[in-house]
């Protein structure tokens, strides 16, 4: 079966989730493009979007519609070419409307797995729980033909475990998108010794069509992306606890988030990133990966405490950030959680947080915020100068940041050493493309 034939009938399980909805959008776009090729005019395309919650599915349809409009607006030069033989489509608006209509026309939503029985490609993007994934994969494989291929968006569970327990005989591969899938350029590809050739080829072609950069990862829990993120995040939490002696725990959170954003020149601080991913998701990654790598302590009691208090971060359906370790106003951190009191302590530049800022010290010369460097063609030179100054600075902030950078580098190097990543470049590529970092963790800055 060719790639294009397979893409005539696709299903996504867990389609209404954060990752599933992005994957649904990407697939709908690619299928709409294929469908509009003259040679495919009479072919029947189907994209089944399956989720447990009907309300979420309704939200998904709204999301897809609005995102398809945006995609159509962006790609209008191409759309006019695509519809050049349609005499009735004259204005840009006509072409964009038709494009959205075309894409939505082959989408079917439902809660019942059986609607996907004829699908030749199935994406799995349900919660990061092994037993749930195995159960669903088993069920759907009993409905589908033996030639159906599975792509799982798992970010931490070894693929060979899913393959074996769901009895898929190599018809499953890890195709790990980054959040949000429609925007992030990166996808980690995880195959096992038994992954069938056709699925590997299909995945490479799919990445090309979806304009994703593939970084291969070996089949070790957490893979490269979460392998780094998990350890980087846990380091941050542990450092916060050490700082708590002098600055209280909320003060420690404040410091760690601030230095990991500002002085590491990252798009967001580590606690904001954990909130963005979801405290519960981060905890689940920690437990999953921890379960497969027994020699390493990959858990932290703070995560459980947050989970018990139901302070979980994550995003609302409109994309706004929910409170987690930090409190947010218009997606910007404005306070920090006090676990003992069960309430937020608002930043106070004239008071407690201003005092901490003073103790962290002046930022080394050459400092630029991430947003000011992201589009700067001379960013590498500027980062080099800044990190040189950071290393030679004796302020509390600089020392903490230097140690953070060093730890991040060690995590990256360990991922290569333990065979999770094939090369240092792969590790750096994941952080550059999947986390929007301006530099890879394995660098000469530290």
């Amino acid at each position: 079966m060719t790639f294009d034939e397979r893409l005539q009938n696709v299903a996504i399980i867990g389609a209404a989730g954060k990752m599933g909805s992005g994957i649904s959008l990407l697939l709908a776009q690619e299928m709409a493009r294929l469908k509009n090729r003259p040679e495919n005019k009479d072919k029947n395309y189907k994209l089944y979007l399956i989720d447990v919650n009907l309300d979420h599915l309704a939200g998904l349809q709204q999301y897809l519609k609005s995102q398809l409009v945006k995609a159509g607006e962006k790609a209008c030069v191409m759309l006019r070419q695509m519809y050049k033989d349609r005499e009735d489509l004259v204005e840009n608006q006509d072409c964009i409307n038709q494009y959205v209509e075309d894409a939505l026309s082959f989408i079917r939503t439902g809660t019942d797995l059986s609607i996907a029985k004829d699908s030749k490609v199935i994406f799995e993007a349900v919660l990061e729980k092994k037993d749930l994934k195995v159960d669903l994969l088993k069920k759907i494989d009993n409905l589908c033909g033996r030639d159906t291929l599975y792509l799982t968006n798992t970010s931490s569970i070894p693929i060979n475990v899913l393959n074996k327990e769901a009895n898929l005989n190599g018809r499953i591969i890890g195709f790990h998108f980054y959040n949000p899938p429609a925007v992030q350029k990166l996808a980690e590809l995880i195959s096992t010794d038994s992954t069938v050739r056709e699925l590997k080829d299909f995945s490479m072609e799919l990445a090309k069509r979806l304009n994703k950069k593939i970084v291969p990862s070996n089949d070790i829990a957490g893979f490269v992306g979460n392998g780094h993120f998990l350890r980087d995040g846990l380091y941050g939490l542990r450092e916060a606890k050490k700082l708590a002696k002098d600055y209280t725990l909320p003060g420690g959170f404040y410091i760690i988030n601030k230095i990991s954003q500002d002085l590491l020149v990252r798009p967001m601080g580590i606690l904001q990133l954990i909130d963005y991913v979801g405290v519960d998701v981060f905890q689940s990654i920690s437990e999953t990966v921890g379960g497969y790598i027994p020699g390493e302590d990959l858990k932290d009691d703070l995560l459980k405490k947050m989970y018990d208090k139901k302070v979980l971060g994550g995003q609302r359906s409109d994309g706004s950030q929910k409170d987690g370790f930090l409190k947010y106003d218009k997606n910007r951190p404005v306070g920090v959680y006090d676990i003992d009191k069960g309430e937020y302590k608002l930043f106070d530049p004239q008071g407690w947080s201003g005092e901490i800022d003073k103790k962290l010290g002046e930022y080394p010369t050459g400092f630029f915020a991430w947003r000011n460097l992201v589009a700067d063609p001379k960013k590498n030179d500027k980062l080099k100068t800044f990190f040189q100054n950071l290393r030679s600075s004796n302020t509390l902030g600089a020392k903490l940041a230097s140690a953070y950078l060093k730890n991040s580098k060690e995590i990256g190097e360990k991922l290569v050493k333990t065979g999770v990543a094939k090369t240092s470049e792969d590790v750096n590529n994941v952080l550059l493309n999947g986390f929007y970092h301006l530099y890879g963790p394995i660098n000469d800055y530290i």
Partner: protein
């Protein structure tokens, strides 16, 4: 061609800010003022410079596509909204695509010449940020021939029309010198705009303007031969001024030192259903300029201030050639020589032009005339040109569509 039968003056010029991307206060997600806001701001800005609104006899308002951008027609009805004294006075709306403003000037001038009015409040307006640029492109495409051009046309219809012209021009006169001339045009216009607080690019902080202007085009996302810096922006804004006879100036209480005089004009309309005879030339612009020269007995050597319709950088170069300031194929060389700079021999678009000031389409021709008033009467502040006494005349060219609807006007300081 006959001379004007009597003296006609322009005075009391006012431009609103050209609003849109580039202005720091612009946020596409926040509500913005509607078209009536711009009309009244500009109209009241002009009236504030005269003694009493009751001395205005008529109104003319130019606009291109408010019916689509703002779902608003019948724009003449906004003239009485400017001031109660204008209620029940005659008002006329004119439309000639991007050349609407030039058409308003001619209409107001003819009204004064007809002696049916001594003073005519003249306003040009467009509000475009009501839709995203990709839909705005559909609306602006109405300046071409919908039936024969739109289906085959590009998503970005007008940029593509001038991109096609640029492509042929590159072939004939070389890519490198032309591209360099276009990038220098961009640099000059942005530098001018940075002196003009009402310009859309006033706050532009790009360090390497020439480098930005040299950015290679990206045909996948945009058009073949132009980059985004080659294009004027999507703008909201309005301009206003008053046309008056000698008697009219007196009635308005305006001293002649605050007025300029129309020396002559040329107005041309080309067949909208035909493609340009020669894409490397703006032949209608050329004809309109020639008519203006013929009426006044003047030529490019007499012009000390030039306002051209640079909807795209390439159009700026072509306009310099069409109006006789550069030989055919030498537009880029003229820009490179520095003569078109604000301190050059022929200061061109000192307020930033369409590239730097902005292009509120149906109002741009009026904006050009307002800038001529400000420059010739010494009121242009930061972007004031030193008018060479050997070249005391200002010329403006307003162009609509793909060089279809053109008005050229020559002014001098009133005596």
């Amino acid at each position: 061609m006959s001379k004007l039968r009597k003296k006609v003056y322009l005075t009391a010029g006012y431009n609103t800010v050209s609003f849109g991307t580039g202005r720091k206060e612009f946020n596409p997600k926040k509500p913005r003022p509607g078209i009536e806001h711009y009309i009244t701001e500009a109209g009241r800005g002009s009236i504030a410079q005269i003694n009493d609104a009751k001395n205005i006899d008529e109104g003319v308002i130019s606009n291109f596509m408010a019916a689509r951008f703002c779902k608003q027609g019948n724009l003449a009805g906004f003239i009485p909204e400017i001031d109660p004294a204008l209620e029940y006075k005659p008002s006329t709306r004119v439309e000639g695509a991007c050349g609407s403003g030039g058409m308003a000037l001619v209409t107001a001038m003819k009204t004064v010449l007809s002696e049916l009015a001594d003073t005519v409040l003249t306003i040009g307006v467009e509000v475009q940020n009501t839709v995203k640029a990709i839909y705005g492109a559909d609306i602006l495409a109405g300046a071409g021939h919908y039936a024969s051009e739109r289906k085959e046309g590009h998503a970005y219809f007008f940029p593509a029309k001038f991109s096609d012209r640029a492509g042929v021009y590159y072939q004939k006169f070389g890519y490198e010198p032309t591209r360099k001339g276009m990038a220098l045009w961009y640099e000059q216009m942005i530098k001018n705009a940075r002196k003009n607080p009402k310009a859309q690019e006033y706050q532009n902080s790009i360090e390497d303007l020439f480098g930005a202007g040299m950015t290679p085009p990206n045909p996948k996302a945009f058009v073949e031969n132009l980059n985004i810096y080659d294009c004027s922006k999507v703008s909201d804004g309005a301009s206003a001024l008053i046309f008056a006879s000698e008697e009219g100036l007196k009635r308005l209480g305006i001293n002649k030192k605050d007025a300029i005089e129309v020396v002559g004009y040329g107005q041309c309309e080309a067949n909208l259903t035909k493609q340009p005879e020669d894409p490397t030339r703006l032949l209608t612009t050329q004809k309109a300029a020639e008519k203006a020269y013929q009426m006044t007995g003047l030529g490019p050597k007499d012009i000390g201030l030039l306002e051209v319709h640079d909807c795209f950088t390439i159009t700026g170069l072509l306009a310099l050639e069409a109006a006789g300031f550069a030989e055919y194929g030498k537009g880029a060389a003229l820009v490179e020589s520095g003569k078109t700079r604000i301190d050059g021999e022929i200061p061109t678009n000192p307020g930033g032009g369409l590239i730097g000031f902005g292009h509120y389409v149906g109002g741009t021709g009026v904006r050009q005339a307002v800038d001529c008033i400000h420059e010739l009467t010494g009121k242009a502040n930061g972007y004031q040109v030193k008018i060479n006494s050997n070249r005391p005349y200002a010329m403006m060219i307003s162009m609509g569509g793909n060089d279809k609807t053109v008005t050229a006007m020559i002014f001098k300081k009133a005596e």
